[in-house]
C-alpha cells in the first residue's frame, strides 16, 4: 500500500494575511518618535518645518481613544501631552516614505516649553512611595534587642541594559476592519489590549503576530506594547503600513533598564549567629511614572526577608520616581535587588562573627515548622539547608574561604605585590515564579486534531527555544500516538486563539507542560467518540492557597520558588587592576528538568547577566540622561570574563513540578562575585558594578595597608 501523502493544508484558524503582516517593503512607511529634549518642563507648543505632502504627524490631541498606557497598576501617557517627564519621552510621532528623511525632519521639531513654577514643581515633582513591613516586635526591631553584635552596611546595585542585539521593531497596519501588528514581544495579549484601548477599537479587531523573542523577562514585558501603540497610531494617520524601528542607540538610551537599588541593612546578632533583629531601608529607583513599582518593590523586599530566620524585622521600602526613563524588569523582576543586599550583608556579618558563611547559611535558613516572613508555616526545611552544604563541599568552599581569610590576616608577610589576590564568595537565593501584582493574562492552550490526523497546538508562549518546541511536539505525539511530524506548534497569533503572557521561563517550564498534558489527554478521551476535528482548550488556574496581600505582606507570594546557591572564585592582579573570574559553581533546585540542555542554557544566561551586572556593564547618568559615552563603552561580558561554569542540579523529591530558572543564576551569582572580590581586596566595596576605578581605589587602600611606609 502506498504511503499516505499529506498535502499542506491551509489552517483555517491561522491565516495572518500576508498583505497585512508582511507587506512588500515599498508599501511600508517608516515611523519615527519625536522625543523630549528636556527632563521636566511644561509643553506650551510645537514648532516644526512644513510637513511634506502625505506624511503623517501624530500629536497627543490626535489619539482617538484612551491616551494612557497601562501596565499592571501603572499608567502613563502614550505621548507626553502638556508636560515632559524625562529626556527621550515620546511627544509626537511622524511617518514618511524614507526613514532617513523622516529622521531628519523629526530632528527639526522643537517643543516650546516653559519651566514649572514652584507650585507646579512641588505638585509634579518625583514622589517617593513608602511601605513599611514589620514582623515580630517592631519596637524591638527598631530600637534593638540585647545581642552580642551589631552589623550595618549600605549596599547598592546599578542599572543594567537588556543587551539584546536586536532592538524592538514593530510593523502595524490599521484598516477599518482590523488592526494588524507584527512585533517581537513576550506579551501579545498586552499588545492587543493596549492598542485596542488607545485606538478605541474592539480587542477582537486587533491581531498580533508575535515573532520570536528571548526567553527571559528582559525589558520586553511592556515596552514593545508601547511601541506597537505608536506604530498603530502612525498607521492610522498615514492610512498605510508603518514600520517603527528604533536605532540601537535610541533603544539603549530610552528602553527600560534594571532599576538601581540602595539598601541599608542593620542586624543584631545573638552569640550563636541568629539574627535577633533586622532593620532595612530599601530604595528602588523606578524612573519616570514608576512603572511596575509595586512589583519591583515587593519582590525586592521578599528578596531580603525570604531566605533566613529573622527575629524581629522592620523594612522601610521606598520606590522613588525621577525624571529619567522608566525602569523595568531586566534579569528578573526585582527579587535580585533585595537578595544582592542581603547576601552581601551576610558576607559582612559572617566576617564579624568569624564564622564560615556556608555554615552560617545552612544553620540560619528556615526549617520545617518555622514560619516564613509572610507568616506561613513551612512544611519542610528550606532547600537551602541541603543546597548550601552540598555546594560548599563540591566546590571546596570552606577550605578555600578559610585559606584566603588567613592569607588576608598574614598578608604583611608577603612582599611581592605582583602576586594575585584571591577571593571566594558564596551566595544563596531564589527566583520567585509568577507575578505578585496580578494582571497578567492567563495561560491557555488549544489543541485541534484534524480529520487528516494532524494535531495543531496553539501555545501562547513566544519562544526561540527549539528544544522546548521539539519536546512539546514529542510529548503530544506520545500521548496521542501519532508521528511527531504530524504535530504542529502554531506561531503565536492572537485573535480567535488563546493568548497569554508574558512569556517567561516559569510559565514555559512550569505551566505549559501541565496544560499540554491536559489538552492532549482531553483530545485522547474524545477521539474515536466524536467526529473530527476535535478541539480542546485548557486554561491554567492557580492552585488555591493563601492569596498574596500586597499591603500586609501575608500569604503565598509566588506560584513557586526555585532555589539556588553559587560559589564564585576571583583573582586580582594589583598591577593590572583587573578582575579575573576563575570559576563559578552553581547548584540549583528547580524541580525535575524537562530538558537538561535548556536548563543549563537558562542558567548560563543568568550567570552572564550577573557577571555583566557585577563587573562589566556600567551606565553613567549625565544631567538626567544616559551619557553617550555609556552607550559607546557598554560592554557585555566577553570570553575573558566568562569562566568555566560548573552547573549542578539538586536531585530532590520528584513530586515537585519543574520550575523556572531564568533569573536564578543572575540572582545568586552577582552577590557571590561581590563577596569574592571583597575577600580579595577588602570589605569596603559594597556596590556593583565594580568599576576599574573602584577597584583601583580599593587596591590602593590595600597597598597602603600592606606597605604603610610607601
Amino acid at each position: 500500500m502506498a504511503a499516505r501523502k499529506k498535502q499542506p493544508v491551509q489552517d483555517p484558524h491561522f491565516s495572518p494575511d500576508p498583505d497585512l503582516f508582511r507587506p512588500p517593503a515599498s508599501k511600508v512607511w517608516a515611523g519615527v518618535i519625536v522625543r523630549s529634549r528636556t527632563p521636566h518642563a511644561r509643553i506650551v507648543g510645537v514648532v516644526h518645518p512644513p510637513l511634506p505632502a502625505g506624511w503623517a504627524l501624530v500629536l497627543p490631541a490626535d489619539i482617538p481613544g484612551n491616551p494612557t498606557f497601562q501596565v499592571f497598576r501603572g499608567r502613563f501617557p502614550v505621548l507626553g501631552d502638556d508636560e515632559a517627564q524625562y529626556i527621550g519621552e515620546p511627544l509626537a510621532l511622524v511617518a514618511g516614505p524614507v526613514e532617513d528623511e523622516v529622521r531628519q525632519w523629526a530632528d527639526k521639531v522643537r517643543f516650546v516649553t516653559r519651566n514649572l513654577s514652584l507650585d507646579e514643581f512641588a505638585e509634579a515633582s518625583p514622589h517617593l512611595r513608602r511601605k513599611t513591613i514589620t514582623g515580630g516586635d517592631k519596637a524591638a526591631a527598631l530600637d534593638g534587642v540585647h545581642g552580642t553584635m551589631e552589623v550595618e552596611g549600605v549596599y547598592s546595585s546599578g542599572p543594567q541594559d537588556h543587551g539584546h542585539l536586536d532592538p524592538v521593531e514593530v510593523l502595524a497596519r490599521v484598516t477599518p476592519q482590523v488592526v494588524a501588528v507584527r512585533i517581537k514581544t513576550q506579551w501579545p495579549a498586552h499588545v492587543v489590549n493596549s492598542v485596542a484601548r488607545v485606538l478605541d477599537r474592539d480587542p477582537n479587531e486587533v491581531k498580533v503576530l508575535a515573532t520570536v523573542s528571548s526567553g527571559t523577562a528582559n525589558s520586553q514585558v511592556w515596552y514593545p506594547s508601547l511601541l506597537a501603540v505608536h506604530a498603530a497610531l502612525l498607521s492610522r494617520a498615514a492610512n498605510r503600513a508603518v514600520s517603527l524601528k528604533l536605532t540601537k542607540e535610541e533603544e539603549f538610551l530610552y528602553s527600560p533598564k534594571r532599576p538601581e537599588a540602595r539598601t541599608l541593612l542593620r542586624t543584631i546578632l545573638a552569640p550563636d549567629g541568629r539574627i535577633l533583629s533586622l532593620q532595612a531601608d530599601l530604595v528602588v529607583q523606578a524612573g519616570a511614572y514608576g512603572v511596575l513599582e509595586d512589583e519591583l518593590l515587593d519582590r525586592a523586599v521578599v528578596g531580603i526577608l525570604a531566605p533566613y530566620k529573622l527575629g524581629h524585622f522592620v523594612v522601610h521600602a521606598h520606590v522613588e520616581t525621577s525624571h529619567t526613563p522608566p525602569r523595568g524588569p531586566v534579569g528578573g523582576m526585582g527579587e535580585g535587588l533585595g537578595l544582592f543586599a542581603l547576601e552581601s550583608h551576610v558576607h559582612d556579618l559572617c566576617r564579624a562573627l568569624g564564622q564560615d558563611p556556608a555554615q552560617w547559611r545552612s544553620e540560619q535558613t528556615l526549617t520545617k515548622d518555622s514560619r516564613t516572613f509572610s507568616n506561613l508555616p513551612l512544611k519542610a526545611d528550606s532547600p537551602l539547608k541541603s543546597l548550601v552544604p552540598q555546594l560548599a563541599k563540591s566546590s571546596d568552599y570552606s577550605r578555600k574561604h578559610a585559606a584566603y581569610e588567613l592569607l588576608q590576616e598574614r598578608i604583611d608577610r608577603f612582599q611581592d605585590e605582583a602576586l594575585p589576590l584571591r577571593g571566594i564568595g558564596l551566595a544563596a537565593g531564589f527566583q520567585g515564579n509568577g507575578f505578585l501584582a496580578g494582571g497578567t493574562s492567563p495561560v491557555n492552550i488549544e489543541g485541534r486534531l484534524d480529520p487528516d490526523g494532524r494535531l495543531s497546538l496553539y501555545i501562547p508562549i513566544v519562544t526561540a527555544n527549539n528544544r522546548s518546541v521539539q519536546l512539546w511536539k514529542e510529548s503530544a505525539a506520545a500521548i496521542l500516538q501519532i508521528p511527531v511530524d504530524d504535530v504542529r506548534i502554531c506561531p503565536v497569533f492572537t485573535g480567535d486563539h488563546p493568548t497569554g503572557g508574558p512569556s517567561i521561563s516559569s510559565r514555559a517550564f512550569e505551566i505549559v507542560p501541565k496544560l499540554l498534558l491536559q489538552t492532549c489527554e482531553g483530545i485522547a478521551q474524545k477521539r474515536f467518540r466524536q467526529p473530527l476535528p476535535i478541539t480542546v482548550r485548557k486554561v491554567y488556574r492557580r492552585n488555591k492557597g493563601p492569596a498574596w496581600d500586597n499591603d500586609e505582606f501575608t500569604g503565598q507570594p509566588f506560584l513557586s520558588f526555585s532555589w539556588g546557591a553559587a560559589v564564585a572564585e576571583v583573582e586580582l592582579v594589583p598591577l593590572l587592576a583587573e578582575i579575573r573570574i576563575r570559576k563559578i559553581s552553581l547548584l540549583v533546585d528547580a524541580g525535575p528538568r524537562i530538558d537538561d540542555a535548556s536548563a543549563r542554557n537558562a542558567l548560563t544566561e543568568g550567570v552572564q547577566m550577573a557577571v555583566g551586572w557585577a563587573i562589566t556593564e556600567s551606565i553613567h547618568w549625565e544631567k538626567l540622561a544616559i551619557s553617550h559615552e555609556s552607550f559607546l563603552r557598554y560592554r557585555l561580558p566577553g570570553p575573558r570574563e566568562l569562566p568555566p561554569l560548573d552547573i549542578q542540579f539538586y536531585e530532590g523529591p520528584k513530586e515537585t513540578p519543574p520550575r523556572g530558572l531564568g533569573s536564578l543564576g543572575a540572582n545568586v551569582v552577582a552577590p557571590a562575585l561581590l563577596s569574592a572580590i571583597r575577600q580579595a581586596v577588602g570589605p569596603d566595596l559594597k556596590s556593583i558594578p565594580v568599576s576599574r576605578k573602584m577597584l583601583d581605589e580599593a587596591l590602593r587602600y590595600h597597598e597602603a595597608f600592606l606597605y604603610p611606609e610607601r
Partner: protein, 160 residues
C-alpha cells in the same frame, strides 16, 4: 542608482542611494536582514556578510562598493552543507537556538576558518566571544567549534 551583484548565489539588481550602506539597501529591498537591526557602527556582528569571501560589517560598507561583486549573508550560508554538518554537531551538544545570534556566530566562525584553516579551539573560543549576546549558548558553541576543528584536523591527518 541601480547596481548588479551576486547575492547568495543569485544575480540581483537593487536600487539604492550612494549615501546608503549595503545593510540598509539589503534590508529595504530584500528579505535579507528584514527582521534584524544592526548597531550601525560595525561592532555588533549582526550584519556581517562575505564580500568576495572577506567578512565585512555591511552596516559600514557603502552600497556602491558591491557592484559586480559577490555577497553571501548568514541566510545564504545557512543553505550550505558545512552549515548543516556543523549544526548537527551543535544539536548533539545540546544547542538551544538563539534567535539573535546562533546563525551569526556560526557564520563568523566559518568566515574565520576559511581564512585561517588551522585555527585552534582557543582561537575559536575567543572568536565566538566577539559577537556579544545575552544568550546561554556560548559553552555549546565552544564545544561544537572544538569538535569541528578536531574533526577537520583528523581529516587532514588522514589525507597526509
Amino acid at each position: 542608482m541601480k547596481l548588479s551583484f551576486i547575492l547568495n548565489g543569485d544575480d540581483v539588481t537593487l536600487d539604492g542611494d550612494t549615501r546608503e550602506t549595503l545593510f540598509t539597501v539589503l534590508r529595504r529591498e530584500t528579505e535579507v536582514f528584514a527582521e534584524k537591526t544592526s548597531c550601525l557602527k560595525g561592532t555588533c556582528g549582526r550584519c556581517h556578510v562575505l564580500l568576495d569571501s572577506k567578512e565585512v560589517p555591511s552596516c559600514v560598507v557603502p552600497f556602491f562598493q558591491v557592484r559586480q561583486r559577490e555577497v553571501v549573508t548568514p541566510e545564504g550560508f545557512r543553505q550550505t552543507d558545512e552549515y548543516r554538518k556543523f549544526r548537527a554537531i551543535l544539536d548533539e551538544e545540546g544547542l538551544v537556538e538563539c534567535a539573535e545570534c546562533t546563525d551569526v556566530q556560526i557564520f563568523h566562525l566559518f568566515s574565520y576558518l576559511e581564512l585561517f584553516p588551522h585555527a585552534g579551539p582557543e582561537e575559536c573560543r575567543m572568536l565566538i566571544g566577539e559577537i556579544p549576546c545575552r544568550c546561554g549558548s556560548r559553552p555549546v558553541l565552544e564545544r561544537g567549534a572544538a569538535r569541528w576543528v578536531e574533526s577537520r584536523e583528523a581529516v587532514r591527518a588522514a589525507r597526509r
